[in-house]
């Protein structure tokens, strides 16, 4: 009896006709696929298609070839937004990954289990605060008058550093990058901590016996062992960073002084919603998509080159 049942699993073709008709898995998939076709695949193809047209929302768009892309290359605001988003994504991804890793490593190295659970809780709670609230709070922190940061600087005698952080071109982008500092809280922290805590303890013990401990263990053993989750965190960070739009809109009020914090995501939104230039906006979106796919591919490729690896 058991052998037959096992055969059925390992050679599903043999008895599937009697136990599970071939259409059953498709029935399970159907609702999810239908929703994805409706609200993901169709809009995606439509967006890419319309980036080659002069669509303005009304039906009947004229095919204009690469005209929108040519216009994009000559649009200084778009080029500025690309420069901004590269800086933002790079700095933000590096900073938040490093800080999440720092928090996770500190907790992972604790000997007391209860202290570990406590700190994990402490850094998870802020995750439930709405993003808009975080943005508005940080807007208050950076405010030129009665802003928390400037008041701290005054209090510690650094009044020379007091400045309107989000109101001037040379600090506005930096201010957006630092929102939420120290940036331990986040899904990245939870993913990395879970990955570290799932490592077999024998590895750490063996390393300790070989005289490898502290920082050296972190770089020689921990980091290579969690390459998979680390790649996942970086990919998700880059994806989110490249299409970032909300902090530019809310904290620096729509692109900042002289477009200092303009981002392609926000520019797309403004072109489409404010000016009704849908064709132009979808061209911006298509450029963003190509950038995201290229980055993801690049990271995944470098990840699979490694010999010792852990699945994501």
């Amino acid at each position: 009896m058991t052998t037959r049942a096992r055969d059925e699993y390992t050679h599903p073709g043999v008895r599937r006709k009697r136990l599970a008709p071939a259409y059953v898995p498709y029935l399970f998939l159907l609702p999810a696929l239908a929703l994805l076709v409706w609200f993901r695949y169709t809009p995606a193809f439509s967006a890419v298609y319309h980036s080659f047209t002069d669509w303005n929302g009304s039906p009947g768009a004229n095919f204009v070839g690469l005209e929108q892309y040519r216009a994009l290359l000559q649009d200084d605001i778009f080029l500025q937004s690309l420069r901004n988003i590269f800086i933002y994504t790079l700095a933000r991804t590096v900073l938040s990954t490093v800080m999440a890793l720092l928090g996770a490593e500190l907790i992972y190295n604790l000997r007391s289990f209860r202290a570990g659970a406590f700190w994990r809780m402490v850094f998870t709670v802020p995750l439930v605060i709405p993003a808009t609230v975080i943005f508005l709070v940080w807007q208050r922190i950076y405010a030129g008058r009665l802003g928390l940061l400037n008041e701290v600087l005054e209090a510690v005698g650094l009044s020379g550093w007091v400045q309107p952080w989000i109101g001037q071109t040379d600090t506005a982008l930096l201010a957006l990058i630092m929102i939420g500092f120290p940036l331990v809280t986040g899904v990245a922290f939870l993913v990395l901590l879970a990955a570290l805590q799932n490592l077999p303890s024998s590895i750490g013990e063996a390393a300790l016996l070989d005289g490898c401990s502290g920082l050296r263990r972190v770089f020689a053993i921990d980091l290579p062992s969690i390459r998979g989750p680390l790649a996942l965190v970086v990919i998700l960070g880059v994806n989110a960073g490249l299409q970032e739009f909300a902090p530019m809109l809310i904290v620096t009020g729509g692109g900042g002084p002289i477009n200092a914090t303009q981002s392609p995501g926000l520019y797309l939104y403004q072109q489409a919603i404010t000016y009704g230039k849908y064709g132009y906006a979808t061209a911006i979106g298509t450029v963003l998509m190509l950038l995201t796919l290229a980055f993801s591919w690049f990271i995944l490729r470098s990840r699979y080159r490694g010999a010792h690896d852990v699945a994501v």
């Binding site: 399970f28 500190l106 604790l110 500092f181 939870l190 995201t292």
Partner: protein, 288 residues
């Protein structure tokens, strides 16, 4: 007497081990404390100042000032309560829909072999890499054509579609870890495919399902762009947009704005404190 000695020895040993653990952990705990302080100071600042009127905010920036102005909360409540209710109306169906559809699809990918399985799975995964903002314009036109502007379904269905690919990935990974013996046993007892899914797979998948549910809840609670585009009516805005109204009408009434931020954060904080353990387990259960 002879019995009590070893016991007290054991206590002493445990105590000394505990103090050694404490001493070795001290620098790590200090570093974590510093990070926690930096994380929480802005929130403490908001809570303290939510009880001040404008004059107190100008003159007494750092410390709590008396009398406490509780009426800030009374003023903020009507605006915030409406958007909390709206958020619940949009988020709850989304969470249920994503849990249902992604467990069905994840189950199919994990437990069946069928033509096109890996292709369909990859086609779904690539959606994770797709920037959502690219799809916003065609989706907006779709919603307008359907006459769905200002309706819950205009938010719920696209939100569910955003969350499904990653959720299917999590569910498939989880279902693949379940021992096949469970399913074979139930099959021999005469269970059909739907019963296998509902009676065997779903009850075992509760940890992964709660991860999917919590991640979806957090996403829907935080998303700004989609409600901004399809909900024009102010009274129908979810919390992520509703809280923005404070930066307009109360821009100099800092106390009321801060009270609004606190109120806007409360629902999920309350939910978290009631179900902290399940929440933590859920967040990490499927991510490990």
């Amino acid at each position: 007497m002879s019995l009590s000695r070893p016991v007290s020895d054991k206590v002493a040993v445990r105590r000394s081990r505990r103090s050694r653990v404490w001493r070795q952990d001290a620098p790590l705990n200090l570093a974590l404390l510093a990070l926690a302080l930096l994380t929480y100071i802005p929130f403490g600042f908001v809570v303290i100042n939510s009880f001040k009127d404008a004059r107190q905010f100008f003159t007494q920036f750092w410390l709590p000032a008396f009398p406490l102005h509780v009426e800030n909360y009374v003023k903020a409540w009507p605006i915030i309560s409406k958007s909390i209710l709206n958020s619940a109306v949009y988020s709850l169906p989304t969470v249920i829909l994503v849990m249902l559809l992604s467990s069905l699809a994840g189950y199919a990918f994990a437990r069946y072999r069928f033509w096109g399985r890996e292709f369909l799975f990859l086609a779904m995964l690539i959606l994770i890499m797709l920037p959502g903002i690219l799809l916003v314009i065609p989706m907006f036109v779709q919603v307008v054509d359907l006459g769905w502007v200002n309706t819950p379904q205009a938010i719920v269905l696209p939100w569910a579609a955003v969350q499904i690919p990653f959720s299917v990935y999590l569910m498939r990974t989880f279902f693949e870890t379940l021992p096949t013996e469970y399913f074979e046993a139930a099959r021999l007892d005469g269970a059909n495919d739907l019963q296998l899914f509902l009676r065997v797979a779903v009850p075992l998948a509760l940890p992964a399902l709660s991860t999917v549910g919590i991640l979806t809840l957090l996403f829907t609670w935080n998303d700004i762009i989609w409600p901004l585009i399809v909900i024009f009516e102010r009274d129908l805005q979810p919390i992520s947009i509703g809280v923005l109204s404070f930066s307009g009408s109360f821009s100099t009434d800092y106390g009321t704005s801060f009270a609004g931020y606190v109120l806007a954060s409360l629902p999920l904080i309350i939910l978290f404190s009631f179900a902290a353990r399940r929440f933590m387990a859920g967040l990490q259960g499927g991510l490990g």
